[in-house]
Symmetry: C2
């Protein structure tokens, strides 16, 4: 079972690594990080470099496609190499998936037209303009179309557990959950806009301004 995770400049590391960590131990799983060029790709802030081991043309028909998001998707709004790869790979994939603003890549690739989908909470409007129907669910399944989209960053872990169930079975998915000890105990309950509230949002926006 070949799992291909797409990389591009300024992707968000956890979007990619969450699903990778869940899926890599499934029976027969082989994970390949793939990009337009082979070699190092840097994350959104540049603090982390990750290796793309293959170019898109070398992984034309993976069983599972995972497209992470990140600030870099703002440079991927015109059709290009990654979109062409996603469109073609989806013809034969078992599942084509995205995390966070990776949904925009699927949308530009023409996969989300008229479909319910999700993305990072800050990007619903962009995704809607691209023809999808954004929802606030953490994981949105379009099983007929073999497309699953996940919300922001950490949601890729939840998505990949469900994907493990679909690819193998529920026991396999639970085994992956146990392996990564995913028994979450966040010390706060601020993981959504509604729960976080105004003070937190104000602070977050301050930090984003400082970083950009």
């Amino acid at each position: 079972m070949q799992i291909a995770i797409a990389l591009f400049d300024r992707f968000t590391a956890l979007d990619a690594v969450g699903p990778y960590e869940v899926l890599q131990r499934l029976p027969g799983a082989s994970v390949t990080f793939v990009a337009e060029k082979r070699g190092e790709v840097r994350t959104d802030n540049g603090f982390l470099g990750v290796t793309a081991d293959a170019v898109f043309s070398e992984v034309p028909s993976p069983d599972v496609v995972v497209v992470p998001g990140g600030i870099g998707t703002s440079k991927l709004r015109e059709p290009g190499a990654i979109h062409e790869w996603v469109t073609n790979a989806h013809q034969t994939s078992t599942f084509t998936t995205s995390v966070c603003t990776g949904a925009e890549v699927l949308a530009v690739a023409g996969l989300l037209d008229g479909l319910k989908a999700t993305t990072h909470w800050s990007s619903y409007e962009v995704l809607e303009k691209m023809g999808a129907m954004p929802t606030g669910q953490r994981v949105v399944e379009n099983l007929g179309e073999r497309i699953i989209t996940a919300a922001g960053v950490s949601s890729g872990i939840d998505m990949a557990l469900r994907l493990s169930e679909l690819l193998v079975d529920e026991t396999a998915a639970k085994a992956m959950q146990l392996m990564i000890e995913y028994d979450p105990e966040p010390p706060f309950d601020a993981g959504s806009v509604e729960k976080a509230g105004d003070e937190v949002m104000t602070r977050l926006l301050e930090y984003l301004v400082d970083k950009t």
Copy 2:
């Protein structure tokens, strides 16, 4: 605020990337991935390469030390370069932390003698033999000693949120939680040995045998 995340051959990616993703957007945060040699380091199964941008001697006194775990820690049970770095860095760090079997590195570095600590559920005995007192908590704080250890793999996210609160304040930590949309909805409740049960454990052990 300099955050140093240690890398070594066959580390577990999510152990490192979970805390990285939470901490990197804190005000003034700079994250450096550091190892014995500069360049690419591969994860436990070899599927993923991550860049070490600096060697240990170049980052002698970070504010925060994060040591991930992974199968590779089984080769780090004798004192070596990483332990020497941890011991020295801890003299001036604000917090020295580990995720998963990264606790073993802290233990060999002499930091956990007689302290409560945690690690991956499969490794309590090893950690106990190294002089720590393993507990089943997800995040174990020794604030007097400025040491925090987290349980398996995904627990580094919870740990890093608490660390954000300690380093900045609660609002900052919540802003990080919102940014990574950490509002977990695992589709199953199998994230601990007790919750997963025998069938899941049997399957997990089958997969581990196949992979090694």
